[in-house]
Amino acid sequence: MSTPHVLLGLLAGGTKHGYELKRAHDERLPQARPLAYGQVYATLGRLVRDGLVMPAGQERLAGPDRTAYALTEEGRTALDRWLSAVEPPMPHVNSTLFAKVTVALLVADVDRARAYLIAQRRAHTDRLRELTALKTATSSTMDDVVAADYAIAHLDADLRWLHTTLDRVADWHREVHP
């Protein structure tokens, strides 16, 4: 995920302190890994250096974490450019999951690959159920639902792939080890 651009986006509505940015990030992207303070300040530092963000005054004389930050004109342009650019749709197939099945077939046998696929399928299914419960809970917000939807759609796709590959694994093994 592009944390710099997310921070630019969070600053588009007005100035914010570092800790406010962290809070807004974790709230808007509920299923993302929570942003560490260190990462917020490191990223802000780079954005200031590149002229995309500037310090906008200090609330008190209480040290750097009290600095508020604002988007510059250049920052707004960079944000617009990022929002308009289409993401390349899966230019490389570099999932660890896929790599692991391939390597299992290479170094072991069908049973090893199958055992891995089955274990992974179970883990995926558990997570899918967890996210479905989270999403359908009466307390969930639209932020929660949309984030869960994203993960659910991807897990669902992975699971279909796991099922199909389980059915293909014997044929695949014959091709790898003729």
Partner: protein, 233 residues
């Protein structure tokens, strides 16, 4: 408490084997998904459990009563009163309005006209289609028909709901809305649900997933508790 049990169910269609000895227990209020590739016997299992088909061998037990040996009339009464059945394409009665369709199971069970209509309107409202009460299926979208069919399957507050790909013909969001509401209401009234689906995303609404493969339970399936699933074969 165990609501529904299958013990060693075997079923063939002529020379075509469909079930090879299925043993499973479903608890009261439990939502169980049955998944597996096309032709593995999911619908056949559901039909046997719901008393629509008679197994060639094995038993179906509903709350301590062996129902597979009951005569057709008794099984059909059971399906009208204690069971609800829902298919992929709602199978509403074309000549009846939505409200009449939903009221039908209640009328067949002896409820008075006015009370049946009131209940039907409540259930249509729960699925967000109250405004279609006086519309016939031919003038509804597939999704609207399926909402009405789901209301009809639940209107008698059955102890067990059998649903065969209930969202199979719906787009993702509509399917999700119907299913979320179905699961919510089933949990509220402690209805046991047997939900057939081939979509992992739909199966995730259930408490447990049973995977069938060539007419048997696939024990390499998903977090399957062998003691609950019993020994298939």
């Amino acid at each position: 408490m165990t609501q529904l049990q299958a013990r060693g169910l075997v079923k063939s269609y002529g020379p075509t084997p469909a079930l090879h000895g299925i043993t499973l227990d479903v608890a009261e209020g439990e939502i169980v998904a049955v998944t597996g590739p096309s032709g593995c016997g999911k619908s056949t299992l559901l039909h046997c459990l719901a008393g629509i088909l008679r197994p060639d061998a094995g038993e179906v037990v509903w709350r301590d009563q062996r129902i597979d040996t009951w005569p057709e009339a008794a099984r059909s009464r059971l399906r009208r009163t204690e069971f609800g059945v829902l298919f992929q394409f709602g199978q509403l009665v074309a000549e009846l309005t939505a409200a009449e369709n939903v009221a039908l199971p209640l009328l067949l069970a002896g409820t008075g006209r006015r009370a049946a209509r009131t209940a039907a309107l409540t259930w249509l409202d729960r699925f967000g289609v109250a405004e279609l009460a006086d519309v016939r299926p031919g003038e509804m979208s597939g999704g609207q028909q399926q909402r009405c069919a789901t209301a009809r399957a639940l209107v008698t507050e059955p102890r067990v709901l059998f649903a065969d790909e209930p969202t199979g013909a719906l787009d993702t969001l509509t399917g999700e809305q119907v299913l979320t509401q179905l699961v919510r209401l089933a949990r509220e009234q402690r209805t046991t649900v047997v939900l057939i689906t081939h979509e992992p995303r739909i199966a995730a609404y259930a408490d447990r997933e049973i995977v069938l493969r060539d007419g048997v339970i696939d024990h390499t399936g998903l977090g399957l508790d062998a003691s609950l699933a019993g020994g298939a074969r």
